[in-house]
Subunit: 238 residues, 2 copies
């Protein structure tokens, strides 16, 4: 069923201004029209305009200065992943799309796996998948995911397109991510990585190897993530 949802006014203005910034109509360092001008231009009241601007500021598109105005700050965007479970929650409610490179399949674990495995994990086999995640149509993450095939019926037939792996695990299997380990390196893009992330060969790529713990004590999620940090940075708080 299609939902002809009414888009809130503040959201509409947010999208317009965001588009203008991304298209370069407002450039880095420019002052946006004042709140009062935006009210008149778009027929809204100031609280509504301010909600648009505060959303823009939260996502890093502008910086507000009291007495001065809103200044465009279209710097490389930041993506939070260092302390957050998945790439979906890392990017907030921005325009995130996913394409599947390798659908979930049951395979043997690689012989030289990046983390040591328990006997149970080795015996259970490995659910393997590859995805590329796009932010505003720019490929940002090339995720290779490995999960031990322990109590995950029918997972290989589920639809992962544009959905969060973690959400599927939570909704269908009651699996929550509790924490994890990770290693980070800067490496040079291989030809495959470069192709998937639209990078020239030999370009630097961020490589994360992660082991995530779940509320199921024996079950871990492993992932090898290659990040295109040319335009977006990865950020974290601690």
């Amino acid at each position: 069923m299609i939902t002809p949802k009414i888009i809130p006014q503040y959201r509409r203005l947010f999208e317009i201004l965001r588009k203008h910034i991304l298209e370069g109509i407002y450039k880095e360092g420019d002052l946006l029209p004042s709140e009062y001008e935006l009210c008149q231009l778009y027929g809204m009241t100031r609280p509504t305009v301010r909600q648009s601007l505060s959303t823009l500021a939260n996502e890093g598109y502008i910086r507000k200065h009291q007495g001065k105005g809103s200044i465009v700050h279209n710097l490389p965007r930041e993506i939070g992943i260092l302390s957050v479970a998945g790439t979906t929650s890392a990017v907030g409610n921005r325009n995130l799309k996913t394409t599947i490179i390798v659908k979930p399949v049951l395979v043997q674990w690689p012989s030289d796996f990046m983390f040591p495995l328990t006997e149970l994990e080795k015996e259970s086999g490995c659910i393997y998948m590859e995805r590329v995640r796009f932010l505003d149509d720019i490929p940002i993450f090339y995720d290779i995911t490995y999960i031990a095939n322990i109590n995950l019926p029918r997972i290989t037939s589920r639809q992962f397109e544009n959905r969060s792996l973690f959400q599927i695990l939570r909704d269908h299997y009651n699996i929550e991510i509790k924490g994890g380990d990770q290693r980070i390196k800067a490496i040079t893009a291989t030809s495959k990585t470069g192709r998937l992330l639209h990078l020239r060969k030999e370009q630097p790529v961020l490589h994360l190897e992660r082991k995530l713990e779940t509320n199921n004590p024996g079950l871990f999620l492993y992932s090898s993530i290659f990040c295109n940090t040319e335009k977006y940075s990865i950020f974290g708080r601690f």
Copy 2:
């Protein structure tokens, strides 16, 4: 000079709720009091309460659900190397050596500094230093440190060779690191970076930009760290 600034109401409520969450009075998954209840409890109107809650939501402490309420989401903050204050504690008790590239000097802040600065910071000027840290005689970190020159007498004449900056700040100025933000990118080594880290030019380097909060509310530490991850990975837990 101490500024007895008036703290806005919404900020006051934000701090109270944040503290309650961090102290565990509201636990992960709990529902916060409803907006109306908070209004009555703290004698504010709903827009004001909503501003507090939206700030909490933006910083990841709660999640709001229409029709349901605000649910506490006190994500485990990062710990470990990526979250640890300095590079000294990052490498444990291994053989860490430090050489000073640029001794601490008082300079102007760079015009396009990596983080926004307060007026006080801008006025105070910037203590600048560059160091390279070796692990087992391999250069691993090239640190550029920036500190606002606020209440740090004689810091430029102190001895930083083979000592932790954080230890000096703690021992001599009673400054403790409380937390911070960081951004991570994979970049290509510049000629200077490559030379200092013994890398061929064009090699990938991990670049961290960090803003560290201290127990002194107005004082932050900034650093730009270039990591040679050829042999060692950066690791972290969360």
